[in-house]
Amino acid sequence: MSTFHGLEMAKRALFTQQSALYTTGHNISNANTEGYSRQRVNFETLPAYPNGARNRPQIPGQLGQGVQAGSVERIRDSFLDLQYRAENSKSGYWETMSNSLYRMESLLNEPSESGLSNTMDKFWQSLQDLSVNPENTGARSVVVQRGQAVADTFNYLTSNLENMQSDLRKQVDVTIKDANSIIRQIDQINNQIKETEPHGYLANDLYDDRDRLIDELSGIVNIKVHRKESAESSPDNAAGLTQIELVDDSGKSLPNGPVYLVDPTSDTGSTFQQFSLAEADEVNEIKLGNDLVQGLPTGSLKSLIDAHGYDGSDPNAVSYKNVLEDIQTLATEFTTAFNDVQKGGYDLNGVAGTDFFVKDADGNIIVAQEIMDDPALVAASAVANETGNGQNASKLANVFNDKIGGPLGVDASVKSFYEGVIGSLGVAAQEANRMSANTAALKSQVQEQRMSVSSVSLDEKMTNMIKFQHAYNAAARNMTAMDEILDRIINNLGIVGR
């Protein structure tokens, strides 16, 4: 039993409680930091004295030597991370899809008093008016103007769908850049951790950073995280390095063998791979490093690609490509059918009708210039030189409800086809909204559990602070006691009778 055993022990207690107080301070400081996990100082009792050696002093029992700070550990449940990331990919997919379809719905604007449907109804009405008053130039002008309004609406929808589609294309680019930047950062953090852990430290704040980045990445593509040890000498509870694998929707490796975004064990030189588009004008072919990704998993990237649409995508899916094609088909079929009827009739001058709708140099649909200039050229009459004959105008009106068939589908009319487009858009958007809400709810549930484990509770920190402060004070008091003992021995012992 050494003389200064008590002092030494009290000093270590002071240091240890102090480190716990510092960590509490760190926790409080980061109470609102995103991705921060609360940290805890693991107290360890020191080995008791004496140890069981042959030269041990014979004293009645082992004496404790006090406390030391073993390690500073973050409190986190990696299983919850796993759950969170799986939900985050789905949530990323559906939220992005929901946003993309929301814009499409806003553009088509049905049912309303200003959509294509209404414009077509108004055109129909003007044609009916013309059939009743075929000799009336006013009625003819209205037909021409409303015809132009239908053409304008088609052009407006087409050009806006194209714009939105190219916006999605840009978003794909930006998302790929984001993903690449995250991948690089994770790789850098891996490297920093590799330099820290072998010295016996836990790089808690780096782990938090890395987990936050992995969370972000999991919203873009579905990934799986494998833990790799950084070095033999790293502590057992170290998080180690992360190997990030791109996995399919069910969490299994991709069909052509595992693909790694970040691979610290790689021996090929680079420990990470970057996404890129294989072809500038094709969104669906994504390369990782030099290889094409087979079966890109769910996530916001996939969602953007699906919403954009590509060659070979499901023709029944609601994507910008398909809806754009539908609107274009509708425009072509409608104008062709309309022109055919127009050519079967006669205008006010008794001359057979010519094309009502034509395309201008830019490919936009317009009402033929000569008809714009002279509405008398609308072929309202079914017989030449019958001014009061409105039979053909009535046939023109029927184009909307006639079963045109052909590319529009069996028994489909212009109106029913368009209703079909809106109907399937509605169903797809509804599903996207519902799935987006569901996955967000699941995600937030996991997030809540995760916060329950890892987030900072100020009450708890206050309690801890008081606890550690008291322990600190007590240790100081203990040291005072030791001091008094030594004082007694050194200054007051052996002075009897002096």
Binding site: P111, K122, V132, N389, K415, G426, S444, V453, L458, T463
Partner: protein, 287 residues
């Protein structure tokens, strides 16, 4: 389960945002009066809504078309009525002139009146409504009786219901044709020559004219009856289409207002609970 401040505040924010979202939906519904504003709110209602809108527009348009049919038929009927009166006066004059006691001078006076009546008939035949000659088939821009008599006997059809077209004009050839005016002309010739036998023949010929006009009116009357039936049906179609559209997409105000008020109280409760939960920490009680 360990619960921390940030969990509580996150939850509160999320719930408040949901609450605002619900209120937004109700406000949208109340201000637009519609259950849905986008197809995704309810695709079935949306597509049906588009359909009902078109249906309603169709019915409205057909009602407009029937007005035009009325225009044609009422004016034709009016003209035929006047033609009948003129022809009856002609017949009266023919009967009068066939009387032996009339001398040449008196017959000449009658002839002058007959000639005026003929001009009147020509005017009736040239009736123009809304810039259209209604007694010249589909050649509504050509004056039917000038040098010539109406030859175009094509029917003018107007669509009054989906696929149903109704003939709106009168076959002018029978009423104002060359034969009809021929009969009047031969009466004038007979009056001029004073040939009593010829004048008596004219009575029979004018009877024929009157009959033709009456037949045309009877035919027109039958069609007007049909038009009334169609109008009646369009009227009830309009009501039912409007009602279907309203049932399909209009909100039940009482219901939505009640929901909004419920949501408001939930929101108030959430706010007040939130303010209580968020405020105090242990810190407030430590000295």
């Amino acid at each position: 389960m360990r619960v921390t401040q940030s969990m509580l505040s996150n939850n509160m924010l999320r719930n408040l945002s949901n609450s605002y979202n619900n209120m937004g939906t109700y406000m949208d519904q109340l201000t637009t009066g519609k259950k849905i504003n986008r197809p995704s709110d309810d695709p079935v209602i949306a597509v049906k809504g588009m359909d009902y809108r078109s249906q309603l527009k169709e019915v409205e348009q057909y009602q407009r078309n029937t007005n035009e049919v009325h225009n044609w038929m009422d004016n034709s009927d009016d003209a035929l009525d006047q033609a009948t009166k003129a022809l009856q006066r002609l017949r009266e004059l023919a009967v009068q002139a066939s009387n032996d006691t009339y001398d040449t001078g008196e017959r000449h006076n009658i002839m002058e009146e007959v000639e005026q009546l003929k001009t009147h008939l020509i005017d009736i035949g040239n009736t123009k409504v809304n810039g259209k000659y209604i007694f010249n088939g589909t050649k509504t821009d050509v004056k039917p009786i000038g040098d010539d008599y109406p030859t175009d006997t094509t029917d003018v059809h107007i669509e009054v219901s989906n696929g149903i077209k109704i003939k709106v004009n009168v076959n002018a050839d029978e009423v104002f044709g060359a034969e009809a005016f021929g009969n009047v002309d031969s009466f004038i010739t007979a009056l001029e020559s004073g040939d009593q036998g010829e004048i008596e023949k004219s009575i029979a010929l004018l009877d024929e004219n009157i009959n033709n006009v009456l037949n045309a009116r009877a035919d027109l009357g039958a069609r007007m009856n049909r038009l009334e039936l169609i109008e009646h049906r369009l009227g009830s179609q309009e009501i039912s289409a409007t009602e279907m559209m309203s049932n399909n997409e209009d909100i039940d105000y009482e219901e939505v207002i009640t929901q909004l008020i419920t949501q408001e109280s939930v929101h108030r409760a959430a706010l007040s609970a939130g303010s209580r939960i968020i405020q105090p920490t242990l810190l407030d009680f430590l000295r």
